[in-house]
């Protein structure tokens, strides 16, 4: 199986460690991934903000770049949802490629059929199901099933987990007061779990919650992408 990594523009630019974790994890499971360097962005930011003219070239570039591969894996539920839900509606030629896109936990559980990926992460961890992973992509309990198999990891439940953290893409800039209020409530609930790490399937939301966590007073909680927990081992910890 020829597997391509769609790292996403945000991870590429700001969170390379997440992309590296996906490569390391899949390699450990016996799969080489390729990184087609023509990739850029799925177009979600422009699409969701109403800048439609900017979107189509990005959709086309995505479809052309990833067409040769049998599977495309991405460590972002939000981008996966944008591609699968919207690319075919924006450009019919993008249909086949879009159908091959899997968010990382989908790829592990549904395609590779694994939940125990041999990870080790000795921390108290809580999981925030991001809105697009929950309500657009329908990841269900896949991330939790993967986390429960991680050795050393103590999983604690996040109260009101399904409530939005307030990131919302450009919403965070266009409605900063409401966005920050939502983020503060989410961060407070994260702190109350006593977790020392918060994980999710999207670095965008983690960047927002993490930014509130480091700005506000309270015990330190690190934000870490799910992929980095799953890639972590005793010999090579994240």
């Amino acid at each position: 199986m020829r597997i391509a990594l769609f790292v996403t523009c945000l991870n590429d630019t700001m969170f390379p460690g997440t992309g590296q974790a996906v490569v390391r994890l899949l390699r450990r499971l016996g799969h080489e991934v390729e990184f087609p360097s023509a990739q850029t962005c799925c177009g979600q930011m422009h699409f969701n903000t109403g800048y439609r003219k900017q979107v189509l070239p990005l959709v086309r570039n995505f479809a052309e770049t990833f067409a040769p591969y049998e599977a495309v894996v991405t460590p972002s539920a939000s981008c996966a949802a944008m591609i699968r839900d919207w690319h075919p509606r924006l450009d019919d030629a993008a249909r086949d490629t879009a159908a091959k896109v899997h968010e990382l936990t989908e790829f592990l559980v549904d395609v590779l059929g694994v939940t125990d990926v041999g990870a080790y992460y000795p921390h108290r961890v809580t999981y925030h199901p991001t809105c697009h992973s929950l309500r657009m992509l329908g990841l269900g309990d896949r991330p939790l099933r993967l986390l429960r198999e991680v050795r050393g990891l103590e999983l604690v439940e996040l109260p009101d987990a399904a409530e939005c953290c307030g990131f919302g893409g450009t919403f965070a800039l266009k409605n900063p007061a409401v966005s920050a209020a939502m983020g503060a409530d989410k961060a407070a609930r994260v702190r109350r779990t006593g977790a020392d790490a918060l994980c999710a399937a999207d670095n965008s939301c983690l960047m927002h919650i993490g930014g509130v966590l480091t700005r506000t007073a309270g015990p330190a909680v690190r934000t870490v992408h799910l992929a980095e927990i799953l890639a972590s081992t005793e010999e090579d910890p994240s």
Partner: protein, 477 residues
């Protein structure tokens, strides 16, 4: 005039900022929406066939909207045959004119009202006041809003932003027959309102109502309410005038049955609605002897012409989307600048009024697109989809935002080319020492300040993923 934009209403973000800073308001809202949200979830979970009911509701509404001209003419025919009179109103001004003239013809200057979104939408009370006619709201929460010279902030619970001590203060101040020692016990407050309203019901000769559903096959109008005030208004006065948005028609009683299940569970989390009143024209010797139905378009026909936006017309005004919305819970209803707050308001108001005013152009952006509204909607309105659709309209036709437009164009230009993206990443990485401290940025310039005003930003990494991949051959080197 379509729907009055509250005078001088600022764009949503500004109004919302003030609401977020009001801790009592946030507390009232969080408490009230939290309670109703949990109860709704339980009420919906009781039904095994909720998904099928929801699908049926969606289909019935879509079918009716597709053949709206037919069903409206059928409704008119049946209402007329049953002794009612049907009036067609193109917009708010026309509807207000019709209602005012009908009231004046009775020789009365006071009317009692059943809570109605359509009459809020057209600003009927204010229009009647200009004609020397006083309208008394009889729904408890509407009464609180009216006595407080306030605006509704929720579709179902218009006074949701008030707690009981605020309500006691309003009653003491503005309700002439309220006991001077009135406490803030809910039962006492309700009793005071009941006595106050009873006098109005017994003396009123004219009532104005909205309509939840109109059954075309028999010309029957249906109103759902919880307090019995509606039943009083619909049966005691001699003249009844009902104002109905044209999308409220359903073809048959069988169709109505679906909504009588969907609406109570979604709005009040009840299995069955407490007071469901249905009437067909006039019945000699029983109830109002004169009945007028005002069919209100007010922009709905143009909403219907929009293939994406038209699904908003399925709305049955249950408020489930408000109660699950994290933005509504923090911004409150007033920030939406219209009688329709929350997610449904964010897609209805800009469609009915257009995107010309600051508040209407900002409403499509008053959402994090979290999708909780779609999940809760009993007629499956894809509110996020309509929001994004309206955002595209705002960008193309709305007020210009040169700064945002330039930034988005520059981002688009960068992202269209992997080489330009790589260059931008190198520049970002080079700046990390200048702006970041221990991997965090506490203050960003320009529009990005909106981010760092309330949260840190991560500093760019020493190298991007693509630079790492190239340098290490994907970690193999």
């Amino acid at each position: 005039m379509t729907m009055p934009t509250y005078l001088g209403m600022p764009a949503f973000p500004r109004a919302a900022r003030a609401a977020v800073a009001d801790e009592r308001l946030r507390d009232n809202l969080a408490r009230a929406t939290g309670t109703i949200r949990d109860r709704r979830r339980a009420a919906v979970a009781e039904l095994d066939d909720w998904a099928a009911l929801r699908e049926a509701g969606r289909r019935i509404k879509d079918h009716t909207l597709r053949y709206l001209d037919h069903y409206l003419r059928l409704l008119e025919e049946k209402v007329t045959a049953a002794g009612g009179t049907v009036h067609w109103a193109r917009d708010a001004a026309e509807a207000n004119r019709i209602v005012a003239d009908l009231i004046r013809a009775t020789g009365r200057t006071e009317v009692v009202k059943v809570k109605s979104m359509a009459t809020q939408e057209i600003g009927l009370n204010e229009a009647l006041e200009k004609e020397g006619i006083t309208a008394y709201e009889t729904d408890l929460a509407e009464l609180i809003v009216q006595l407080g010279d306030d605006r509704p902030s929720h579709i179902l619970v218009p006074a949701i932003h008030r707690n009981r001590s605020e309500i006691r203060d309003i009653f003491r101040r503005r309700m002439p027959d309220a006991p001077p020692d009135l406490s803030d016990e809910p039962a006492e407050l309700a009793e005071a309102a009941r006595r106050h309203l009873r006098a109005k019901f017994l003396s009123a000769q004219v009532a104005v109502s909205g309509v939840n559903f109109a059954v075309a096959e028999t010309g029957t109008l249906v109103v759902l309410e919880s307090e019995g005030n509606g039943r009083m208004c619909l049966t005691l006065p001699k003249t009844l005038i009902s104002v109905m948005g044209i999308e409220k028609v359903v073809p048959t009683w069988r169709d109505l049955e679906v909504f009588l299940q969907l609406l109570p569970r979604s709005s009040t989390a009840e299995r069955m609605n407490p007071y469901t009143s249905a009437w067909t024209g006039v019945t000699p010797g029983d109830g109002p002897q004169e009945f007028h139905l005002v069919l209100l378009d007010n922009g709905r026909t143009s909403v219907l012409a929009d293939e994406v936006g038209r699904q908003a017309l399925r709305c049955i005004r249950c408020s489930a989307c408000l109660n699950v919305c994290p933005v509504y819970a923090r911004a409150g209803g007033h920030a939406y600048g219209s009688p329709y707050p929350g997610p449904i308001g964010a897609i209805l108001s800009p469609q009915i009024r257009g995107i010309g005013s600051p508040v209407d152009a900002s409403l499509p952006y008053a959402s994090s697109l979290c999708g909780a509204c779609l999940e809760a909607c009993p007629v499956a309105i894809d509110i996020p989809e309509v929001l994004v659709h309206l955002r595209a309209k705002v960008v193309e036709e709305g007020p210009r935002h040169p700064l945002a437009g330039t930034a988005m164009a520059a981002a688009g230009w960068t992202l269209r080319s992997p080489r330009r993206l790589a260059l931008a990443q190198r520049l970002a990485s080079a700046s990390r020492r200048l702006i970041g401290r221990r991997g965090r940025i506490r203050r960003l310039p320009g529009p990005l300040r909106a981010w760092t005003d309330s949260r840190d930003a991560p500093a760019p990494p020493p190298e991007s993923f693509r630079a790492w991949w190239k340098r290490t051959d994907g970690g193999r080197a």
